[in-house]
Symmetry: D2
Subunit: 141 residues, 4 copies
């Protein structure tokens, strides 16, 4: 599939539209297959014990997959999450960034479905995996 927004355009959208949530996030890499976001944990992302909290990883997957759709469709529509299933496998060190590699496996007329793999930079150990489904609103003519 072909992208209609590149890394710079996605980063610009993230900076302008996502307010405080976007401050901890940046676009790491954009390929034909996937969009990767970086979460640099802030104080409020850290849980007791010094790990990145579950809701913060969920946010990374949720926002990241939105940008993977955006890369394909452009900022034409307000897609909303309908389902997310997330498996937490390893405790993420709060001192390290987390990369979320977001792949759209199906971009249908009404649903976009795919997955997010979360790892630390330079590591191949998966910290968490998420399956995501977004509803894409119908085009207005």
């Amino acid at each position: 599939m072909t992208n209609v927004m590149d890394k710079a355009a996605l980063q610009d959208y993230l900076s302008k539209e996502f307010g405080p949530v976007g401050a901890a996030l940046s676009i790491e890499e954009v390929t034909e297959q996937s969009v990767t976001l970086r979460l640099t944990p802030e104080q409020h992302h850290i849980r007791l014990g010094g790990t990145v909290s579950g809701p913060s990883l969920f946010m990374l997957a949720d926002v990241g997959f939105f940008f993977a759709i955006l890369a394909r469709l452009g900022p034409v529509a307000m897609a909303v999450t309908t389902n997310a299933s997330i498996d937490f496998m390893r405790k993420p060190d709060g001192a390290k960034p987390v990369l979320g590699e977001c792949t759209v496996h199906k971009l249908g007329r009404t649903l976009a479905v795919g997955q997010v793999l979360m790892r630390n930079p330079g590591s191949d150990k998966v910290l968490a995996q998420a399956s995501m489904t977004y509803a894409i609103p119908p085009k207005r003519d």
Copy 2:
């Protein structure tokens, strides 16, 4: 099943241990079947369009189910989320609290499994449903 912590004890634990996250949450009701938490949305829980964000509902389900386990086991162990699957059905009005009714269906030796139903107070419309699995650390002798 019998509870070992009541509403007051759970509220006390929430206030003391959950820091800023806990400020938006309170224990609404505790029965033999379920523990219900209330999320009173703060500014940072609200998305564009005035709805409660997905990660905020995830946080309600995640923390709420932890308290449903706590009611049964007491504050003996540091349980961690291993899987969460959440379906978002209706956009939650950011001006209204959200109640998360958390039910433990299986409290095993190593896993606790159950569900969370999220609704506005006084409404029977389900805003979101979540299936939750927590790993319970082995007892230290």
Copy 3:
């Protein structure tokens, strides 16, 4: 919500349309809130160790939720499963029937979302829980 098909009509549909799959299933109960199906395990539903297999419980949830939608909408449309998340909690004795209580929490224009709780008759122990999403095809005018 109101049903447009009752127990007899659903049972008739099950007998006529579901071929060999339907032979092990029957409509147990239909209320305003939920539709319950009964699975009477046959030899091919049993795994080593004498328990009902995971795919058989999945089939019960999948077919059962279809009938919960049917009760509301009638046999007008060919709904298809888009997501299923299932938690297996207790090993189901292959010598006992399994009841799947199917509840539609949201019946939208394009998606139906809800849950299935599986138990043995007369028991309140949940054997497995499933979250189900079906896509409802658009009406043809």
Copy 4:
């Protein structure tokens, strides 16, 4: 990670231990990263409309991920599925085999977690994705 069973050993185990279920399955490929199973649909795997049924894809994911664990651990333990979340994206043509590529992302002491991607041979279109969690029984000394 290193495998302790190769393709021939896994195929042998499948043929001997999985009875009629195994007849439609074969081990397609085994690498350091993943184990791929092939489902050659039989009559009872086909739904109205000529597509492979949801429960059949679930079975492929469920059995396939078991073999991905087996490749790592050997036939030492009776692992059981605790959670499966599956997204159905495209209707699989019942006349074509389905390959399930099974990857273990985390092999812990008590849980094995990973994913399964299902495609037709020679196609890169994902038909369905599954997230799988198996509980691994404790070693008996």
